[in-house]
Point group: C2
Chain length 283, copies 2
């Protein structure tokens, strides 16, 4: 619970970590944009409001583990930001709560219904939401049978009319595990390495608690994909390309040869954002 | 697959059954209303459009298993309606589909994203969506811990800040099973019997696939309630009253004494509709 005191004795800051969840449907993604509703913008405004309500123009900037695109959800996004010791202590007024608990309660009082902050903790001053993260896990939910398309799922599940061959997909995706150049499946910036290490790329059927109108028991498909870090559009491009295999429009071997080509093309354009959720960040 | 031919040989009708699901959030309930968006109104317009597109003013009226209130969802709602043999046969044009498959495909083409028809079948002419139903099952979803409040769930899950004692609720609700006068927990019309038979009223914790920020594993509470039929507001009133017991604001015995009183009051007013789903109709 102790903050770092710098040698000049002037700036004493506390690094706070927040873990939050959001429904990305009505956000233009994570990163702040002028005149657009974003998760970062919404969270930072809430912080300004609850930490420094009287300090006009004071702004708290947060750093996140993974910048999610428009329409992408999160069950766990992690951020850090710094506040002065004075601001930290001023969070507690007439209550028996810790500063973190007080912050959490106040944030919940002002945040909209599509963002929830689960947890606020004092982090070590060298904790970095982005650089300290060892890996990120995303999940993608799909329903490939119209008998199981309950409309309530449409906010976070992608509906496709084409039945998927998961065995073909598993066969195709296995060679992609490990360290590779993922240029074929991402928008790579010039100053960036296209090398990433893919830890997990699983496609499994999970039961849905719905009435059955066919011989098949209702299910959805959950894709779990974990890497040390992801390039821009990488998760959705890998899934999009896998769907070509799952629909038998391309053979299983195509996916690995595509990886080796390092060439981006139409088939590896990103799949719909609605099914995607940043589900965990591992530190 | 044969339609009933009446003795005068003129009117030949087919009775069709549809099973559908909907996200009730943006509907003013099931029953048609002038100038309001309702599930019945939406479904009937779709039927008019796909069965008799050229018959101006022709209207198909459906009868449902249970009229859901504004904001209530369904994973299974069942309806029936009648169409003439000519209309039935005209559903198939240049395709190898059955009339039912053709109807299903056309309905899906015109229905909005918050309604899905799973199944269309030719029913016996004495099938009645309401009167043939042996029982109805509703589910109600709750989250009672803010650490588990993922915003994506807010459309069909009720969030409460008060931890619930499920053991107390189970003890309180058990004596309500069986045949009783449920006047204390419903809006009973004057021409209506208040007697109903409650088959099931279960409260269970189910795991949520979310990251854990406390020692407790993320869960939600699923209430399953089944009866031969329900009075207006009965499901939500029973749940609302049970919450008073679960929050230790009333003792467990109060629920049964409330039943015996046959008097409605504030504590048995309906809980929020968003958590409620008509989940099955048993024929």
């Amino acid at each position: 619970m102790c903050a770092e005191v710098e040698s000049d004795g002037v700036s004493v800051t506390n690094r706070l970590r927040l873990d939050l969840a959001y429904d990305g449907t009505d956000f233009s993604g994570w990163a702040s944009q002028t005149d657009r509703r974003t998760v970062q913008g919404t969270l930072e405004s809430a912080l300004d409001q609850v930490i420094a309500p009287n300090a006009m123009g004071k702004h708290f900037a947060v750093t996140c583990a993974g910048r999610t695109d428009a329409g992408v959800h999160a069950t766990q996004q992690s951020v850090h930001f710094d506040i002065s010791a004075t601001e930290y202590e001023s969070l507690v007024r007439h209550t028996t709560l810790t500063p973190e608990q007080a912050l959490l309660r106040r944030l919940r009082g002002v945040l909209p219904a599509d963002v929830n902050v689960y947890s606020a903790t004092l982090a070590p001053n060298d904790f970095h939401a982005r650089f300290s993260a060892l890996s990120r896990t995303y999940t993608y939910k799909l329903i490939d049978d119209q008998h199981f398309m309950h409309p309530i799922f449409r906010r976070d599940t992608f509906f496709t009319r084409n039945k998927l061959d998961l065995r073909a997909i598993q066969q195709a995706t296995k060679p992609l595990l490990g360290e590779h150049d993922f240029s074929a499946f991402a928008r790579v910036r010039k100053d960036q390495s296209p090398i990433r290490t893919l830890h997990k790329f699983d496609w499994v059927k999970k039961p849905l608690d719905l009435p059955a109108f066919t011989a098949e028991k209702p299910y959805f498909i959950e894709v779990t994909i974990q890497a040390n870090a992801f390039l821009h559009n990488m998760v959705r491009s890998l899934i999009s390309a896998s769907l070509f295999v799952g629909e038998h429009r391309m053979p299983a071997e195509w996916l690995y040869s595509k990886l080796q080509s390092r060439e981006r093309e139409g088939k590896t354009g990103p799949v719909d954002a609605c099914g995607l959720t940043l589900s965990a960040v591992e530190y």
